[in-house]
């Protein structure tokens, strides 16, 4: 077990943690979505890397090749990529609407304005 054999896992875990950290630590709504994107992308690696055998080919039966890579993870991740794109698109669309409604995309400023709304509600507005 050399370091090299675990290299892809190290990258995966690094991206995963980095993405999740950005989502939690950043107040900017766009930056949060960037973090979310990185977090989701790391999972693509988690699936695809183990599916590849070094020296393996596409699974087409041929007498010259004995070693095949598993194609299923690629197919699964193709679906996951579509889901990721949809999530990101919807997230960005929401941010556009939030910017129109609040005039800012900073977490803390929006929360401050929400607190004002809350107070108005409390007074029966």
């Amino acid at each position: 077990m050399s370091f090299g054999s675990h290299f892809s896992y190290a990258i995966t875990v690094f991206l995963m943690v980095a993405g999740l950290f950005i989502v939690i630590a950043r107040g900017n709504l766009i930056k949060k979505l960037v973090g979310l994107g990185i977090f989701q992308t790391s999972v693509y690696l988690l699936y695809i890397a183990p599916g590849k055998l070094i020296g393996g080919t596409a699974p087409i039966i041929d007498e010259h090749f004995k070693l095949y890579s598993n194609p299923l993870p690629h197919v699964l991740i193709l679906t996951a990529i579509v889901v990721g794109v949809a999530t990101l698109a919807l997230g960005l669309a929401l941010v556009v609407r939030i910017r129109e409604a609040y005039g800012t995309i900073e977490d803390d400023e929006i929360l401050a304005r929400d607190a004002d709304d809350q107070r108005n509600d409390g007074q029966g507005g």
Binding site: K32, F39, T87, A101
Partner: protein, 494 residues
């Protein structure tokens, strides 16, 4: 090939096809008709499937005739047919209601999009429940989640946008955790079919990747089902979403997530692995009790009725997971019964509140003062629903609490039975806040001319209120199904 053979596929395909049709028509009227018809067809299908699995049979359906475990398998057993019944039944009731309620909440030119999104959300929830394929669960989960983010963002208040955004971030993190868990399981077992996976996991036992997968799945699904303290997305989402959406999501979305958790725990990992190798029962017990008390206590101090009942939902989910933590047939029965009873009760409450919002113009308690004079039927319905949340005998909530207490006593945990009763007292407190405002205060001056909510809003809501009382007296459907399902799950798990 007769139609009856294809019921499992039709269950998902009918609502799925209705969504693009609704978009193609581009008008509210036809879109409403198509989606409502689809939801009723789905409800009829669910009833047929539920009757078919009555004798404990399991229906396996190979999509595209690709035999499992290679192809995607739809699998209907007692538990999944019961959850299908809840989800499609709620949709069939909420859709006729939504026509009148979104009139006041969503611009008319967006109505057909609302119906399309609703159909997709229904498709996703039904798909999660019926599929027997791990990756398929994730795909359907995202279909239902993405459409519910849109549905929540349609709320009138600008805070609905922020609520949808927060739900999107939390929901996506949850879903990604679930994919990581499924990925780890796939790496170990080489299969995505749940039944096949269960067989192979039994051979692998509790190795570290399996436990890691279990942990990722538990956290991911807990985010989705709003297990305390992962519930932050829920109160805002329910409060600012359009009324019909609040009612539908409160009654179904979290319940389906509970179903996924039960499915993974009992049908895939097996209870011996879940409950013996990790301190999961203890963690689950702790978080459930925390939810029951903390969320109920927070609910007491809310100024908005929708938000109050949203926090109450978090507390009620605590009762469901509490039943799981007992790891016994009675406990699991209590969970599944409460899943059903709470869906009916919360559905009724949010539909009634939607009627009040439509007439009064808001759900803040100060606006609702004297509501009983203006809208006696709505107020009385909310009180009945509240009694069911408390667990008063004669309502559905009592049945669930009864089984929970039985399960606690079975384990010899007296203090826990006391805790269940004590937390019900907190429910008395938050329901009383509504009673006090609605019955013992004068209506605001501008409400004097308002009348009861229109029948289109009142009838679906009162059907559910009636169900709340009915299932408190006649329990053969709810408890019978739940007990069968629990026995089957634990039979497989051993």
């Amino acid at each position: 090939m007769s139609l009856a053979l294809h019921l499992p596929a039709l269950q998902v395909v009918i609502p799925l096809v209705s969504a693009p049709l609704a978009v193609l028509f581009r008008r509210a009227g036809p879109a409403f008709l198509i989606v409502t018809a689809a939801s009723w067809a789905a409800f009829a299908t669910a009833i047929a499937l539920w009757l078919k699995t009555g004798d404990g049979a399991t229906i396996s359906y190979a999509i595209g005739s690709w035999q499992p475990p290679w192809g995607i398998e739809y699998r209907v057993d007692r538990l999944s047919s019961f959850v299908l019944l809840i989800v499609s039944g709620m949709a069939a009731l909420t859709l006729p209601y939504s026509r009148a309620s979104i009139e006041r909440e969503i611009p008319r030119e967006q109505h057909y999009l609302f119906y399309a999104m609703f159909a997709l959300c229904l498709t996703g929830l039904l798909g999660i429940t019926i599929t027997g394929d791990a990756f398929n669960i994730f795909v359907f989960l995202e279909i239902s989640s993405l459409s519910s983010y849109v549905l929540i963002a349609l709320g009138r208040d600008r805070r609905a946008l922020m609520a949808a955004y927060q739900y999107l971030v939390m929901g996506t993190i949850g879903a990604t955790f679930i994919v990581i868990g499924i990925g780890l399981l796939y790496l170990i077992t080489g299969t995505l079919n749940l039944a096949d996976m269960a067989g192979r996991l039994a051979q692998v036992g509790g190795t570290r990747p399996v436990l890691a997968a279990l942990a990722f799945l538990t956290v991911g699904i807990s985010l989705k089902l709003a297990l305390y303290p992962l519930h932050q997305w829920l109160p805002n989402a329910y409060t600012y979403a359009p009324s019909a959406v609040s009612a539908f999501l409160a009654a179904t979305a979290t319940k389906v997530s509970v179903y996924v958790l039960i499915r993974f725990y009992y049908s895939v990992f097996g209870e011996s692995l879940v409950f013996a190798k990790l301190p999961l029962p203890q963690i689950m017990l702790l978080l459930s009790v925390a939810a029951m008390f903390a969320a109920s206590a927070v609910a007491i101090f809310q100024h908005d009725l929708k938000r109050l009942f949203a926090y109450s939902s978090v507390a009620q989910i605590g009762y469901i997971t509490l039943g799981l933590s007992f790891d016994s047939v009675t406990g699991l029965t209590a969970s599944i019964v409460h899943l059903f009873n709470h869906a009916v009760t919360k559905g009724a409450l949010f539909l009634l509140i939607g009627g009040a919002v439509a007439v009064v113009g808001g759900a803040t308690l100060s606006r609702l003062s004297g509501l009983a004079r203006v809208m006696p039927l709505t107020s009385f319905g909310i009180v009945l629903g509240g009694l069911s949340l408390i667990g008063v005998p004669g309502t559905a909530g009592f049945i669930s609490k009864w089984y929970l207490v039985l399960a606690a006593l079975e384990k010899g945990q007296w203090w826990l039975a006391m805790a269940i009763v004590a937390s019900s007292l907190l429910a008395v407190a938050y329901v009383w806040r509504f009673v006090e405002v609605a019955y013992f205060r004068e209506p605001r001056a501008d409400l004097a001319t308002r009348r009861e909510a229109p029948l289109a809003l009142l009838v679906p809501a009162w059907i559910l209120v009636g169900a709340t009382v009915y299932f408190g007296l006649e329990t053969s459907v709810s408890v019978g199904s739940a007990a069968n399902a629990a026995a089957m799950l634990l039979g497989i798990g051993k």
